[in-house]
Amino acid sequence: MLHTKVIDIKEKKLSISTAENFISSTDFGASIFFSGTVRNQNNNKSVIGITYDSHDELVIKSFNEIYSEADQKLNIKNKAVFIEHAKGYLNLGEISIIIAVACKHRDEAYILSRYIIEEIKKRSPIWKKEHYTDNESDWLKGNPIVYEKN
C-alpha cells in the first residue's frame, strides 16, 4: 500500500496526521514517522528558508521504484508507505518531507524507513535553494544522478 505526492506548499502544508491516517491498520504492529524540516544553519551560514524545486513526474516515478525495490531487496512484503515531499518556499521549522511506514515488526519498519530516505537522497530529482540572513541565496551542490541503461 503506497501513497506518494509532491505538495505545492502554496496550496497546503505537509501533515503527519494525514500520514498517520494512511498507514494506520491493525495489520501492522510497528510504525515509523520520519519528517525532514528546515533548519537554521548549514555550512556555517544562517539559513532563513529553503526553496524546493522538483521534477514532479520523475520524483513520483522514483518513489514508486523505491517502494517496489523494497519488496525485492529488503523482502518486506506487507507494508504501508506514505511519502510526500514539499515544493516551493519553506520557512524554518516547516516540514519538507514525510516518510511514514508501517510493518508487522519494528526491525523491518526501521530498515524500510531508512532505506526510503537514503534512496530519495540519491535518486529523486529534488533541489534545494537556501536563503540566508544576508539576503543571499544559493542552490545546494547536490549529487549527480547516474545514467543507468534500462
Partner: protein, 89 residues
C-alpha cells in the same frame, strides 16, 4: 527542428524563463544539446564556469520521464528536462 529544455534546480539561473529553446539538426544527440547549452551560456551568461559545470554534471530526462544517455537522438520536436545534481529531503 526544435528542442525545448526545461530548467530545474541550479539550471534555473541560466534564464529568467522556465526553459531554453534551440533549433537543432535532425538526429542531434543529447551530447549535441549539451554543446548548444554551453554555447548559449557563452553568449548569454558571460561563459559562467559554474553554470557550465552544472551542465556537464547533469543528466537529461525525456518527455516520457526516462533518464536518457548522451547518445540519445532527438528525432522530432521535443521537450527534455535538464536534471542537475540532486539533493532533496
Amino acid at each position: 527542428m526544435k528542442v525545448k529544455i526545461e530548467l530545474f534546480g541550479a539550471s534555473r539561473d541560466f534564464s529568467s524563463h522556465d526553459s531554453l529553446e534551440f533549433d537543432i539538426d535532425n538526429n542531434s544527440t543529447v551530447k549535441d544539446i549539451k554543446s548548444k547549452i554551453i554555447d548559449y551560456l557563452d553568449n548569454h551568461c558571460g561563459g559562467n564556469e559554474k553554470f557550465k559545470k552544472i551542465v556537464n554534471s547533469s543528466v537529461f530526462c525525456s518527455d516520457k520521464n526516462n533518464i536518457i544517455s548522451d547518445n540519445y537522438k532527438i528525432t522530432k520536436n521535443q521537450k527534455i528536462a535538464i536534471i542537475p545534481p540532486i539533493g532533496g529531503g
